[in-house]
Symmetry: C2
DNA sequence: GTCTATAGCTTGATAGAC
DNA sequence: GTCTATCAAGCTATAGAC
């Protein structure tokens, strides 16, 4: 957006920087998730975002910084998605979790689905132990686990922390196996375990 | 090894090619597993193997070819390792599997442990659907699952295919979470699920 | 804040000698 | 079968104009 001032020397310095940053994050999400963080170049992200590399490096110090921002931006929407899936089913928590797995199975058969972005980024960055993105991924999964703890407590079940942890393990395993085999029966088998973990023990 | 023939022109053309190939695979294993397949360059592998890149490309057509060979070479040793872990415990199959998870927990706390090489390669190559290494990874996991089916059948339990699949899911999830959090309580929680999956149902 | 242009290096892969 | 030498392309990141 140009601001005419009677001179040519004054041009708006801000061309919606928030929007630019959001565009970059969106482009990074598309490519980092679709192709992997190491397989994606900064050139490719700049091109997809419709900016030059100079602008990219104005908004993000480095590629590692952008990888972190990519995961950070994914945190809340991902948790929200699972929450929507869980709330879509009415009934006991066991039934709701079964429904959550069922819906995961639906989206996970699409070709554009490429597993969990956090899990895959962690797999790629395993060789860089101190990478900041790893901490973000770890905290994201912790948050998911804590959300389950709350749900299990609200259901009046005992041993909520252990049960939540076990449901997370089963979900992670289902996602990993789905990515490898693209066979929805893995998600079904997993949903069955998860539901049984949420039954009141006698 | 030089063979003296009275001339300088005749030098052994074969300097243990099998050994060279094995050296390359070993170097590839160290680096691909330790740093990731995309983070590792052919230069780095050649240097670690003590050969030039020309020799590397004599033995392997391309990097993708070497990635496939790396996973192929890991198939049997990996299955063998789990078999050793399982057989190390005496008792019911449930107890043996619990022992297998326990031993996994031991090695998975070491810093050099970087999760499952197949799972991580699959995560990295998710953006290249037709990659030959993906098929090798998938078949490896299938082989592991089938080995479990046999064990469960031998134990006289029903629904062996489903139970085996569920144990695999739990194991994959435990490995993924261990890699992310480096917290052995995940393996413990997983081992508990796996063992309970192998109890005769009433 | 965004541009054009490029530095400086690494990458996967190859040529040709022996 | 292994070497030395090298290519063209791609990479992350930066310089300086406006």
């Amino acid at each position: 957006m140009y601001i005419f001032t009677g001179r040519y020397t004054f041009v708006a310095m801000t061309r919606k920087p928030r929007a630019t940053r959001a565009n970059i994050i969106q482009a990074a999400d598309d490519l980092f998730y679709g192709e992997g963080v190491r397989a994606t170049s900064m050139d490719a992200i700049a091109e997809r975002a419709g900016v030059t590399k100079r602008t990219l490096y104005y908004h993000f110090r480095s590629k590692d910084d952008l990888i972190s921002a990519y995961l950070q931006a994914r945190d809340e929407p991902t948790l929200g998605r699972y929450e929507v899936w869980l709330n879509a089913t009415k009934g006991t928590l066991a039934e709701q979790v079964a429904g959550m797995f069922h819906r995961l199975g639906r989206v996970a058969t699409a070709a554009k689905w490429k597993g969990c972005g956090f899990q895959r980024a962690a797999a790629e960055l395993a060789g860089s132990p101190g990478h900041p993105a790893l901490k973000i991924a770890s905290e994201h999964k912790k948050r998911f686990e804590l959300w389950l703890v709350e749900r299990i407590n609200a259901e009046g079940l005992d041993a909520a922390p252990l049960r939540a942890r076990q449901v997370v393990i089963v979900l992670e395993g289902a996602v990993a196996q789905m990515l490898l085999h693209r066979d929805p029966s893995y998600v079904r088998a997993a949903g069955q375990i998860a539901a049984s973990l949420l039954i009141k023990r006698g």
